[in-house]
Symmetry: C2
Subunit: 145 residues, 2 copies
Amino acid sequence: MSDHRLQDAIDTLKESGVRITPQRHAVLEYLIQSMSHPTADDIYKALESKFPNMSVATVYNNLRVLREIGLVRELTYGDSSSRFDCNTSDHYHAICETCGKIVDFHYPRLDEVESLAEQVTGFNVSHHRMEVYGTCSECRAKSAH
Amino acid sequence: MSDHRLQDAIDTLKESGVRITPQRHAVLEYLIQSMSHPTADDIYKALESKFPNMSVATVYNNLRVLREIGLVRELTYGDSSSRFDCNTSDHYHAICETCGKIVDFHYPRLDEVESLAEQVTGFNVSHHRMEVYGTCSECRAKSAH
DNA sequence: TTATTAGATTATAATCTTTATAATTAGTTT
DNA sequence: AAACTAATTATAAAGATTATAATCTAATAA
């Protein structure tokens, strides 16, 4: 069902003149089918059975390429490593401070904030990021015994 | 003029039972008087003339303590190192993608987003973060020759 | 004021994530 | 199928942050 998304992404790669190698294909496929927001190491571990000789650098290189093309977003939260997210549609993130889980949610784009910020700061604003932090229901249930 | 802010912060430390060492005092003072949003290394470098023997670990330890008490916020952007910000009043950040400058701006708190996110995700939301990205006027002027 | 004690600092090493380098391999185009 | 160039691999290096153990000191109370 996410086949067309993968195909679309591959088309975008071709249009950008980026070669489609098996490793690159696998990283992209994994990101598209993944509901979580994996780190580079998550992806590396997930693919190592299929590509036993793949280098970590390959994962990073491909994530950089995919980010530069706009297919992937890099999320830098408080924890030590970046997370990567397929840039499908506009959405925001809710992050559980207990277990680290990331859940997507939709909300109208904060265009007003962007235009006010432009006026106040003199910046040319291209985009923004926003996320909410708290405790997910599972962790609340656990802490309540 | 920011003396009272420093004094307030020191009172908070005392109430929390945290010792006030010269190094800790200096880190706190630097953060309060700083208009930028320094990295741990910035702080380390700024204080090394006054404390030639201070260890980097001390800076990190103190930043952690100050963060845990709520006096300081840790900002993790795309770049490699965290930035630290005195948690004075509610404000958001505009970040220049060219030179890295961070400018504060005020906007009404996004309480609506928080409550919607709670409903949709089932989270207990404690806070959020939001910032806008773009190009500052200086960098726009430079790139226009 | 001094002694005590738990916490803080220092110096150092270790860890972890990410990037750089050089040699080899392999997509893509002709 | 050959050639060209980008991608991959293996490895090392860099940079940020944390861990450890020994030493020191701020705060408290005798």
